[in-house]
Symmetry: C2
Subunit: 440 residues, 2 copies
């Protein structure tokens, strides 16, 4: 089957990410989607920039309508942003029977009702995973993963810029203005940061989640929006003393009186997982009546994290557009004829780092022997701790615990060194070995 042809409108930060990730992971994405996916046309006013990204792999045009008019294009990705031309182009693409993928939260939060109605009437899909919380599949989780539930509330850190600023204000005790400048210098805040710091961006996203959670139309004009510009580092410190952290949350909640939809700085108990989401990361907590509390965490912005969401939508649309229902999503994610024969490694071939505890005689030279066995095997030591062992059988005073953290090494090698150390007369008990992962 020929690859499905995609047209990309706007190739800035996110667009470049989409193009590059799609190219880099081409083979693996095809194995999942059951069909190749190719961006064959790109529209951007800056054609030179566009050509620098796509090379000869796609046709670059200045006029987006050339893409919309092309009958070979099945899917249009809108990454222009804003309510103006983006809205017109999305509506025209739908009218032409194209499936549309967009990361444009402002457009959907304000004009979603019109857009979804047009798409429904025309029988095309409008997919927008990238519009909320970047790479985190929160739209899919809400729309498909939690369908059993009566959603009770959603609360999310859904703007990375403001979470970065709040984290810095707390860490360093600095004021808003100072940190904003630093964030701009580091690229975490835009030159005009108004939409972020005033909470508008978060409110766009909260509006979309509210609609999906409760089955109401998008109603951005009803959202209460308060940003972080007036927050002082003093209040952040007082809150901390009371056991709370201040986060800019997008909240939507079902109550007996109606639906709450609001964005504002919020005190959250420090012990909640979401209170510990720092820097530019995003996280969304969803409370459902059956599932209880679930949380989704990841990067909410940036070129490739956002591209991850756009391409997930591409695969979704391709699977639906191309394959019959029962075979839409392969059982094991990859198409049955595209499974890999890559081997599962035996444990001895696994490379990891280790925690080792040796109960040793409390006498000179023990550490030297242990260390030299490790060194001979090429195992280097990351950290060491020596502790008086709890008295055992009256011999406590003459024993001690030697605790080592190693750097990474093959498990097979580690097994050999442990056997050698175990053979030392000064090692008095079976050596405890627990593996360690940095997960970084």
């Amino acid at each position: 089957m020929n690859p499905i042809q995609v047209g990309l409108l706007g190739i800035g930060t996110v667009g470049s990410g989409v193009f590059n990730v799609l190219k880099r992971n081409q083979a693996e994405i095809k194995r999942r989607a059951g069909r190749g996916i190719e961006i064959t046309m790109v529209a951007d006013l800056d054609t030179a920039r566009a050509e620098a990204v796509v090379g000869r792999n796609a046709k670059v045009v200045k006029d987006a309508r050339e893409i919309i008019a092309n009958p070979d294009i099945d899917i249009v990705i809108e990454l222009i942003g804003g309510y103006g031309i983006a809205r017109q182009l999305v509506m025209e693409a739908i009218a032409q029977g194209k499936h549309v993928i967009t990361a444009n939260k402002a457009l959907l939060a304000v004009h979603g009702t019109e857009i979804f109605a047009a798409a429904h009437a025309k029988g095309v899909m409008v997919a927008f995973e990238a519009a909320v919380a970047g790479g985190i599949p929160i739209i899919k989780s809400l729309r498909e993963g939690l369908t059993a539930n009566r959603i009770e509330w959603i609360a999310g850190i859904i703007n990375g810029t403001t979470n970065f600023i709040l984290s810095e204000m707390r860490d360093k005790g600095l004021d808003f203005d100072v940190v904003l400048k630093e964030a701009q210098r580091l690229g975490y805040a835009e030159a005009d940061p108004t939409f972020d710091i005033e909470g508008v961006d978060a409110a766009h996203k909260a509006t979309i989640m509210s609609a999906i959670a409760f089955g109401v139309p998008v109603q951005f004009d009803k959202a209460y929006v308060e940003g972080i510009t007036k927050l002082s580092s003093q209040d952040i410190e007082y809150a901390e003393q009371l056991g709370y952290r201040i986060k800019l949350l997008g909240i939507t909640k079902r109550t007996a009186q109606g639906i709450e939809l609001r964005v504002h700085p919020t005190l959250v108990p420090c012990k909640r997982l979401i209170a510990n989401v720092e820097g530019a990361m995003n996280a969304v907590v969803v409370q459902g009546d059956a599932v209880g509390t679930t949380l989704y965490y990841g990067k909410g912005a940036g070129s490739e994290p956002t591209a991850s969401a756009v391409i997930a939508d591409l695969v979704d649309v391709t699977r639906l557009h191309t394959v019959d229902a029962a075979h839409r999503v392969p059982h094991l994610a990859f198409q049955p004829d595209a499974m890999s024969e890559e081997a599962i490694l035996p444990m001895s071939e696994v490379v990891t780092s280790y925690y080792l505890r040796l109960r040793v005689a409390d006498q000179a030279g023990v550490l030297a022997k242990v260390a030299s066995l490790l060194a001979n095997a090429g195992v280097s030591i990351d950290a060491m701790l020596q502790r008086e062992a709890s008295a055992l059988g009256g011999k406590g005073a003459t024993q001690t615990d030697l605790i080592l953290l190693t750097h990474t090494v093959r498990e097979g090698t580690m097994n050999e060194v442990i056997a050698q150390m175990q053979g030392l007369a000064t090692v008095l008990a079976p050596i405890v070995r627990i593996r360690k992962e940095e997960l970084a």
Copy 2:
């Protein structure tokens, strides 16, 4: 359209949850799925127990094959567990052209290849969101939400029993045997806890995630499995002193040599979000080349959390089985003709709690006035903090900060009280008001 008819095999803890949640949220689930979903037949050896749950709402039979033979049943839910009869019934249901939903990780980790091949050949779906991490939509996230990515590794707390035991061992400094007994008493561990504490259950789940992440067949026999039975509280304490927490992780990782698939106690840096997942909760970290790190957190077991996943699969299958592709998943989760008109509340009607900071004159009677204004409006105080204000314009010595946390109150009421307090001569600066949410 008539409701889609579902047969349930096995109505224990999870089965009851599925029946109850499906009934309780019937209307909302239908609004999402575009069609009613009804469990019309239930098979259980204990027919009395089954009848106690379903009443007259479903036909109870002893022989599961009566359900499989019924041409009106489109979907069969298998909640029997184990490799024996469950395997036979799943294969027979597939052969009869039924879609199958199962929570049976053991069955899929060991016999998945055979089952998925049969389903593929027959053109039916086998859905298994509930098999890994209970109510967390991790299968959907991996299989559909992260399809852009070359997955690098997955590490998960995917067994609640062992995470509960490890959390207790750490919190209370108790040994494994003691905590296991407590866990059994509280219902967090089964009478025969072998599969949990020896890591077998986690390895079943890791095996399934490994297949989905890397496009390899399920290969439980290749997994390295080590449980927590030999862990001492002493090592948990030493690890803590070194900045690490010990978690039973299911890990699968892509390396140049092959795929790692292993379950064992693991030291994780305390500052990682996953290290702070306590009690019986589950969490899975997924590292993708485009999206970076994402984390999914929630209840990994229990009647209704697991039911949440089973019913999400029911909705998925219903949407696919019933509706044309473009309209499969409604844009806003609910069908366009089933949107709600529930109103978004004005902010003045929102009920929440508050952090208030008042810069006041440092003199007798100020607190009394503030407190009485709050009391008159029915606002009760949760906590109070008084701090010397930083010297301002030379008047520092005569000013102080009064910080209050309130219990919940209508925002409109709070606005009125703030205006009243602001009118006091002893309140020297604009009152700071930040909302507070417990998110519990």
